[in-house]
């Protein structure tokens, strides 16, 4: 394959399209930007692409609930085309608002988990929160996360808390391989708020739902989930922004560290390009 073709779809209120396009370009892909209404007019457009990307932002103002209205547009023929893309080996990436859309459209977590069992909702703090987070990669075969153990990016959201309806669902998320990324603290632990080491090997039912404490887990996500994927690993949605860590000077501590060659966000996009080029 000559180049990886990426379709970046925006809606009114999408606002991270420029940096997401930039990330794909820097990584060597050929991204194309498209308004959701143009796509709805011709759903088969997706057949010319390897990866679909839903960037961050406030589609439709986050009115009703974040991602809800955008997701309502991803029905019928559009949804069929997305499923066909994944079936033929392609990928879907949702960043921030993109994750909210993928979950609300029922594309994540997918597998055996019904769409009304998992959601992304208001931060436990009740506030919008902007800060850098550190994450552990739990799904190392996800095309966006190859050769990555830990990764650092900023979160900037008011509705990023991943919530499972019940313990059974949470356990299914773990056993089904849906947990792609998990918030960790500075010592790389996903410790619970009582300081215990809630390592991810323990059965979900025995674990404190809140796991790692605020602010390492910035929104109070169940099991410190930062990113979800489908059973294939090729649909990934994450709250943190790889598109905001494309240059070493994006990192908040760059003035106190030796220069880095490959910022985490760029590594993320390059990983995907390497995967789909092969």
């Amino acid at each position: 394959m000559a180049t990886v073709r990426v379709l970046v779809v925006r809606a009114p209120g999408t606002n991270c399209d420029e940096e997401t396009m930039h990330g794909w370009r820097l990584a060597g892909a050929s991204p194309q930007l498209l308004h959701i209404e143009r796509w709805i007019e011709r759903p088969t457009l997706l057949r010319e692409f390897d990866v679909l990307t839903l960037p961050g932002g406030f589609s439709y103002g986050d009115d009703i609930a974040a991602g809800k209205v955008f997701a309502a547009g991803l029905t019928g023929a559009i949804l069929d085309e997305i499923r066909a893309l994944v079936e033929r080996g392609g990928g879907v990436l949702g960043i921030c608002n993109g994750l909210q859309v993928l979950v609300k459209a029922g594309l994540l977590p997918g597998g055996t988990i019904a769409p009304d069992r998992v959601t992304v909702t208001y931060n436990a703090s009740g506030r919008f929160e902007a800060r850098w987070v550190r994450m552990k990669v739990c799904r190392t075969d996800c095309p966006f996360l190859l050769d990555t153990t830990f990764t650092e990016m900023p979160v900037e959201h008011g509705e990023g808390r991943v919530v499972a309806r019940d313990e059974t669902t949470l356990a299914a998320l773990e056993t089904g391989g849906h947990v792609a990324l998990r918030y960790v603290d500075a010592e790389d632990r996903s410790a619970d708020d009582k300081g215990r080491n809630a390592d991810i090997e323990r059965p979900a039912a025995e674990r404190d739902l809140r796991t790692v404490a605020y602010p390492a887990n910035p929104n109070g996500s169940d099991a410190a989930i930062a990113g979800l994927c489908d059973p294939t690993g090729r649909i990934l949605g994450l709250m943190p922004h790889p598109d905001r860590h494309l240059d070493p000077t994006n990192h908040p501590l760059w003035t106190r560290r030796p220069p880095v060659d490959l910022p985490d966000g760029l590594r993320f996009f390059k990983s995907a390009v390497t995967f789909w080029k092969a």
Partner: protein
């Protein structure tokens, strides 16, 4: 048949309702500890030909979250209350409700998707219900509603659970129908008293001289003006639009400027003779557009310029903090969109001046909102609008002083990136006038002159509202469409653009057609609802609108782009070239003005100004606002010969003007667009950055730094030095991150009480001169500015006496200076957190007030050069709180320690005082010695600040204790 259905959505479990949890603690803090629980319901009111079953299916799919929420659907609007104590809040008719608009579109689309008629739904409104479990009386609900939940200038409250229960409306309000009637004002027959009565009661706010000029003009025309003509003149001649005070001739008599003695000076045009002169004398060839456009533009690189504008939105924020601040942000963004042929907004700045949030509630004058509510409201407004626009909020300040109680100041800034070949614009004869964006309603008519009595009325006149609520997504769509039309293949699709802000179409069309003349047909303006009079359409300040001049040949393509971006755009007239501003409504001429009289007919006045220095004894010490009485401090010993220095530093860090603003900053998205290099918080422990740095082009390492200077407390001593020090501080802040003082421009924002008296005008003169003197000395051109000269509040004598406040509550003269600087390579930037144990710390000082401009210039240049050549590891400006606070902040940011000796001169004098033109720099020892700067201490791995302040004795603070004090004052809640 048209019926109503109500959808009520609530959280499935309390843990999914963080807003209710936060509200519960606020309610208990009001003195209602018996409130056990609060539950918040979202309500959607739907009008149409749809059955409850259909609505139920629609709600389940389109509105409700199946994991976290449950819902019920009820027929009708006037539900009988369930008996529980509850406060239901609805928007007043006509108030912008973005969620309702989105819901209407979503539900209609869902109907269409299943083959049903989308027009079965007529309209949607929203509301929220707060169930207050444990409330004991209607009075308690009233207190909670008034203090925490609703603002009666945009919302209506319905109380339930106690008799008498408020009756809920049973239908949506109907807008009134409008019958056209041309109205003329009998102006020619009025005497002076009549003219002034008309000026006041017609909300014209013109002086007698100005009213006489208008009268003479119409006497010459042998006719009376229409109401629309008078409104247009009043707006065009308003302080807001033409800066009459700053542009007037002023005879000043009083203290000399920056040196002893008294002088008499005449300024032919105060602004031109000070601020504009400074720009001219700075002779910077990288200034591409100054003072002539909606924003100033400086060169960024060979291809692009950067535009910067800072606006104030004080009065709207005082009345409705959330909406006021949000529309302030929105308005400033539109200034950037309307700069040249349009700049792409890449960063926002926000500065607030407020009264301390711990002001006792019983100290508030009637009609004044509590400062804590103002703070929460303005932060939320900036957050919700800026974040939704996808523009990072990267720099700002919050300054507390009790004198901002009734007049909080809200400054909103925006920076844009603009291709250098898109800076020039001019409407051309024959161009079509196109208004694009949000629809026009009664929002913002006559700004803030409404009275609460009008608003309490349930009459349909409630459609009239001065307060504006923003709809950020509408503006984002305008932004997307505008940039596409600007960058269209084959060239820009329009020849000019401006924002539709204060003064509405009257101001926007009037400005664009100032040379050419224009004709407008008002019935072509898209309206939110029927019933607007022609003059209301003309002056409405409805948000999210831009006005374009589009050549007929490009019109189809222009309209197609806007349609694709789902932005409504309507042709409402054309630029004629005949020098008349002609306004019609359904074919009838409702206004016909000579554009030369409109733009040049304003009589100029000469005003007198005086200023005398206050005796030293009455000048208050720099107010350390919000400093709590210290708790027992284990580190301070009885009889401490350092005068309680240990406790004092902790108190300084706790004081509101020094304390961490992290709670606010983290609610703003400061990284969207991926350009961020230096963020508002820096170091491993989130210290206070001096300025922000970002890369406007993602493919380049060139950057811009943004900083600000603000020291209103110095006004008490001398507004001249207040202005000098604000310029000096703005420059210091950008230099601290690595900016080049030779490529730095500044903006001025004057906020003053009414300048209708000689001493206040004298203070304004001194501020202008101070700003100009500093700008000329430092060669910093002013590129844009704005003034707000009526920030005072008057109250009846009895109330003033009761509160122990003056009858005229005036803000201190306040000048905000914002700096923008271009940086060749952002990889040379530095932050203020300490880096390496073993390095030394030097203090570099040349206080401009005593050392003079020459020494200060040399110091600024030297520090900038040291940073540029990589000799500095961290840099910090000494400002509020003094030298020790600056050192403590560097420790807090890094979790490293410092061992310093400040017992010598000049450090002892600046331990606790803001020290102008003073920097603290971390360097390696050899570099510090060769730079010839005085070493005051050394960085230590041990997280302890150890300072020798006087003979022999060293005081130590653990950095953890310093950090705890610094973070405590301004926290959520």
């Amino acid at each position: 048949m048209r019926t109503y259905v109500t959808v009520i959505v609530r959280a499935r479990e309390p843990r999914f309702d963080a807003t209710a949890a936060a509200l519960l603690s606020d309610v208990r803090a009001l003195g209602l500890p018996h409130i056990r629980e609060i539950q918040i319901d979202r309500m959607y009111f739907i009008k149409g030909e749809v059955s409850p079953e259909t609505v139920k299916a629609l709600a389940a799919a389109q509105i409700v979250d199946p994991v976290t929420e449950t819902f019920e659907v009820v027929e009708g609007l006037d539900r009988r209350a369930a008996g529980a104590p509850a406060i239901e809040v609805h928007y007043l008719p006509g108030v912008m409700d973005p969620a309702a608009l989105t819901t209407l579109r979503t539900l209609r689309r869902a109907l269409a998707q299943v083959g049903a008629d989308p027009r079965a739904i007529d309209d949607v409104r929203t509301g929220r219900r707060h169930v207050i479990v444990g409330a004991q009386s209607r009075g308690e609900l009233e207190v909670v509603a008034r203090r925490l939940l609703a603002n009666d200038c945009i919302e209506r409250v319905y109380l339930a659970g106690f008799a008498p229960e408020d009756r809920l409306p049973d239908r949506f309000p109907e807008p009134p129908q409008y019958r056209f009637e041309l109205r003329r004002v009998a102006l020619r027959s009025l005497d002076d008293a009549g003219l002034m009565k008309l000026s006041r009661e017609g909300h014209l706010f013109l002086s007698l001289d100005e009213m006489r000029a208008v009268q003479a003009h119409y006497a010459g025309l042998k006719r009376d003006p229409t109401d629309l003509e008078l409104e247009t003149l009043a707006q065009t001649w308003s302080e807001h639009c033409v800066h009459k005070t700053l542009k007037s001739a002023v005879e000043y008599e009083g203290e000399d400027f920056g040196r002893p003695g008294r002088v008499r000076v005449r300024f032919e045009n105060l602004l031109k003779d000070t601020i504009v002169r400074a720009t001219r004398e700075a002779r910077r060839d990288w200034c591409l557009s100054v003072f002539v456009d909606n924003a100033g533009v400086i060169a960024f690189d060979d291809d692009y310029g950067v535009a910067f504008k800072v606006e104030t939105h004080n009065h709207p924020s005082a009345i409705e903090p959330y909406g006021g601040a949000a529309t302030g942000v929105g308005g400033c963004i539109r200034d950037i969109l309307g700069c040249g042929l349009g700049a792409k907004p890449i960063a926002s700045t926000d500065v607030f001046c407020l009264a301390p949030p711990d002001t006792p509630a019983d100290r508030l004058p009637t009609g004044v909102l509590h400062p804590r509510r103002v703070l929460k409201g303005v932060v939320a407004g900036v957050r919700d609008y800026g974040n939704r626009m996808g523009i990072p909020t990267v720099n700002g300040a919050i300054y507390f002083d009790p004198r901002y109680l009734a007049n909080p100041l809200v400054f909103c800034g925006c920076v844009g990136l603009i291709p250098r070949n898109r800076i020039e614009k001019a409407a051309r004869r024959g161009d079509m006038i196109v208004v694009a964006g949000g629809r026009t309603g009664r929002d913002g008519i006559h700004g803030a002159t409404f009275s609460s009595a009008e608003l309490e009325s349930t009459h349909v006149d409630e459609f009239s509202h001065a307060v504006q609520i923003g709809n950020a997504v509408e503006e984002k769509k305008v932004l997307d469409a505008l940039l596409r039309a600007r960058d269209a293949d084959g060239g820009c699709l329009y020849s000019a653009v401006t924002d539709c802000g204060a003064g509405g179409l009257s101001s926007a069309v009037g400005e664009m057609g100032a040379e050419l003349g224009a004709e407008v047909d008002l019935e072509k303006v898209p309206l939110k609802y029927s019933g607007l009079r022609y003059d209301e359409i003309w002056i409405s300040e409805a948000q999210e609108r831009m006005v374009f001049a589009v050549p007929p040949s490009a019109l189809d393509r222009f309209l197609a782009v806007f349609a694709e971006e789902e932005v409504e755009a309507a042709v409402i007239g054309r630029f004629t070239g005949d020098g008349r501003l002609r306004v019609r409504y359904r074919g009838e001429v409702v206004g016909d003005l000579d554009v030369h009289f409109l733009h040049e007919g304003l009589p100029r006045s000469t005003r007198r100004a005086t200023w005398t220095a206050p005796p030293a004894s009455v000048v208050p010490h720099a107010p350390h606002v919000g400093r709590a009485t210290p708790a027992a401090d284990p580190g301070s010993e009885p009889g401490d010969r350092h005068d309680g220095a240990h406790t004092r530093l902790l108190d300084e860090l706790r004081s509101l003007n020094v304390a961490s603003k992290e709670w606010v900053i983290r609610q703003y998205d400061h990284e969207v667009q991926g350009r961020s290099v230096i963020k508002p918080l820096c170091g491993p422990a989130s210290g206070p950055s001096d300025a922000a740095v970002l890369r406007p082009r993602l493919d380049s390492m060139r950057g811009v730094a943004l900083g600000c200077g603000l020291c209103p407390q110095v006004s008490d001593r001398d507004p001249y030095w207040m202005a000098v020090l604000a310029v000096d501080e703005a420059l210091r802040n950008v230099i601290c991150v690595g900016a080049d003082p030779e490529h730095t421009a500044i903006l001025d924002n004057f906020c003053f009480p009414k300048c209708d008296n000689e001493p206040t005008l004298g203070a304004l003169v001194r501020t202008c001169r101070g700003a100009a003197d500093a700008a000329i000395a430092y060669r910093l051109p002013f590129i844009s500015g704005k003034d707000s000269l009526s920030n005072e509040f008057s109250m009846p004598p009895a109330e003033a006496a009761r509160l122990g406040l003056p009858q005229r509550l005036a803000i201190p003269p306040t000048l905000l200076v914002s700096a923008i600087s271009v940086i060749d390579d952002v990889r040379r930037c530095v932050t203020m957190d300490l880096k390496t144990p073993g390095n030394v710390v030097v203090a570099a000082s040349a206080p401009v007030e005593t050392a003079g401009f020459e020494a200060a210039i040399a110091l600024h240049r030297k520090v900038a050069a040291l940073i540029r050549f990589g000799k500095v590891r961290s840099a910090h400006d000494v400002s509020d709180g003094g030298l020790l606070v600056a050192l403590a902040e560097m420790c807090i940011a890094s979790n490293l320690g410092l061992s310093v000796d400040l017992s010598g001169d000049p450090w002892r004098a600046m331990l606790w005082e803001p020290a102008p033109t003073t920097y603290v720099l971390e360097m390696n020892e050899a570099d510090a010695r060769s730079a010839g700067l005085p070493v005051v201490g050394r960085v230590t791995a041990d997280a302890v600040l150890a300072a020798t302040l006087g003979a022999g004795k060293q005081i130590t603070w653990s950095v953890a204790a310093l950090a705890q004090a610094w973070r405590k004052a301004l926290s959520p809640g």
